[in-house]
Symmetry: C2
Subunit: 177 residues, 2 copies
């Protein structure tokens, strides 16, 4: 499966790196999409680095099977750009697997993809989602149809496991999502 | 007037420093309140530094005439702590002047002080406020009763002017707010 990873400055290091590594180990392709191509991004803890593969302008969501949104300060910066919001909304409306952790669901909120969805997020974002009408749960991972959400770095193993499960299911039954 | 400034790590440098300086120049006292006292905080751009005067545990909102919430990454970190949310809510419910800029209104949102209020914020936060039921405007400064809000560093002069105006009005008519 071809996964679009939406990434901006000061992402949460492990929330990007660990799922990225595991998705690739499982045989998936991960394309890191930023506001520009070849942008050098660092994690907010200075432990992870990444150069973006593609600019948001260069990609078409139809090319991708899934979208992955790591946390940290990255999602709030990405959602300041309408193209990132549109990409996210398109993937959600196409019912493709969407994985968002920590502050990642901020992008889903800005894209109006939270309504009638059961989801989780970093604790400060949980309140924003709830006040906006989402059904918020406080669990390590929440799977609602095509949407997998988690709260924080401690949740990463559960987040990866459920995301891989969904990718595997989607691969077997691409029309059933 | 005695102003409580709620501050955490990686605040937006000028959104703290400029109003802080101007409030003091106008003769007001500004007490910087953090999660701990004597905490050394830096702005996210590395241009401003500040040591907190008091811990949130040490202060009583009754001691203060107004509250000031600078932007940056600070407000989202502060609203992860229930005591910061309670302090903010208390000040708002007491109808005392409240000044919040950029991401500062995130603290008002978490404290449920956005309902039936007309306000502004950083553009990504504007959407969160609107979806949660606030009446959001996209202006350099918005005054709604005791509440003064602005969007970003460019708005600082207007933000300071309206905040000082409100402080001056409150001083003359402390019961009229």
């Amino acid at each position: 499966m071809k996964i679009a990873c939406l990434l901006g400055p000061d992402f949460e290091d492990s929330e990007f790196q660990k799922p990225y590594d595991e998705f690739k180990s499982a045989g998936h392709e991960v394309v890191v999409i930023g506001l520009e191509a070849g942008q050098e991004l660092s994690g907010k803890k200075g432990k992870a680095k990444c150069s973006t593969d593609k600019a948001i302008d260069e990609v078409n969501p139809d090319e991708f099977d899934a979208v992955f949104i790591p946390g940290g300060h990255s999602p709030d910066q990405l959602r300041a750009d309408e193209r990132m919001i549109n990409f996210t909304r398109y993937m959600m409306e196409a019912n493709k697997p969407c994985f968002a952790i920590c502050h990642g669901p901020q992008l889903l909120l800005s894209a109006d993809c939270h309504k009638n969805r059961t989801m989780t997020a970093w604790k400060t974002v949980q309140g924003d989602l709830q006040k906006a009408g989402a059904n918020v749960v406080d669990e390590s991972v929440c799977v609602d149809g095509n949407l997998v959400t988690s709260r924080m770095p401690d949740d990463i193993p559960d987040f990866i496991a459920k995301s891989l499960e969904l990718l595997s299911g989607s691969r077997e039954q691409p029309e059933a999502a």
